[in-house]
Amino acid sequence: MNTNRRHALKTGGALSLLSLVAAAGWLKPGDAAAADAWNKSAFETHSLDETMKALGGTSPVPSNDIVFFSTPDIAENGAVVPVGITSKVPQTESIAILIEKNPNMLAAVFDIPPGTDPSLTTRIKMAQTSNVYALVKANGKYYATSKEIKVTLGGCGG
């Protein structure tokens, strides 16, 4: 099971979560996310099975045009992990952050209207060392990149 999961993720299984999300009608071009109802099902995806079931759309294309910045490889504390993402993919419409090993994979989705730079920073929680995906929707298509962020133990009482 575990091996399967890992294998699937490496071959883009996790990224297909976005297809699920897209299929659920989220991230419609030009929409402001806040105007929509909060997308409960997308934020409660926590196993690959769920994602697999929803495999309908195309998987995101790995892209070197999506770059993490101000995002360390090692976090001193998992409660606050700074993440910065810039997309150079033309016509970027939205940027999402997914954390593979969190109880729920999807952390945040930002819709980027025309006129706003496709670049932002925020802070996320990570339960453990994990791959973090930056997923971009541009001109109706999905692109992604990922990096591993290590979460370290700290303190004297630990």
């Binding site: 090692i74 290590k150 370290t152 133990l153 700290g154 303190g155 004297c156 009482g157 630990g158």
Partner: protein, 213 residues
């Protein structure tokens, strides 16, 4: 002399009068011993018992007292020798003579810092928190440097009876070898059980332990 002193009423501290009046009564360059005594009295009135951490924890044994007195300065050789000798005498060995346990369990003990804090559950086994101060298994990136690296402890020293015995003694009472060492005396203070010490010894001296890879 003093009217109402907010801080002193905080947390139900009583009997401050004595310590405090001394504090304000002797403001001009008191003798060093006097400062030590007043500091101790001040601490005893400023800390409050909390769960398993009772005020008795502030009572020092001879080793603690002498090490506090030297305040980080080098000890005269005679004093250091006296402390080391006294601590060496406290070391006890397992009745069955077996000093080496299971390194896997030792690794867990080395990772855990639980135990003896007032916030800890006293019913749970304490850890040794070795990684807080030492490098051990190279797989653990998050290690401290207060103590020396113990990576390849057994491999470097040889897998001998002498090495195993030294590891036991050092964990049991580090002051037996280095007076005023920063390392807790895990056996002397009963922080770890006999079996736990065996397991940590194994982590250090078992050729199969990740520490010796």
């Amino acid at each position: 002399m003093r009217t109402r002193i907010v801080g002193h009423c905080i947390g139900g501290i009583a009997a401050i009068g004595i310590a405090a009046s001394i504090v304000y009564g002797c403001a001009s360059a008191p003798a060093e011993n006097d400062v030590s005594e007043r500091a101790e009295a001040m601490m005893k009135s400023s800390f409050k018992a909390h769960g398993q951490a009772t005020l008795a924890r502030l009572d020092q044994d001879e080793t603690q007292r002498v090490c506090s007195e030297y305040a980080g300065r080098a000890l005269p050789p005679a004093v250091a020798e006296r402390i080391e000798k006294a601590n060496l005498e406290t070391i006890r060995y397992p009745a069955d003579g077996n000093l080496v346990g299971d390194w896997k369990s030792g690794e867990k003990i080395a990772q855990s810092g639980q135990g003896f804090q007032y916030s800890d559950d006293p019913k749970k086994a304490a850890g040794a928190n070795c990684y807080a101060c030492h490098q051990l298994s190279p797989k653990e990136l998050s290690y401290g440097t207060i103590g020396p690296s113990l990576y390849r402890f057994g491999k470097t020293r040889g897998y001998t009876d002498e090495t195993r015995r030294y590891a036991w003694q050092k964990i049991y009472n580090a002051e037996a070898f280095a007076a005023c060492s920063n390392m807790p005396r895990f056996g002397y203070h009963h922080i770890l059980t006999e079996q736990q010490i065996r397991d940590v010894v194994a982590l250090l001296v078992d050729p199969a332990s990740p520490v010796n890879q």
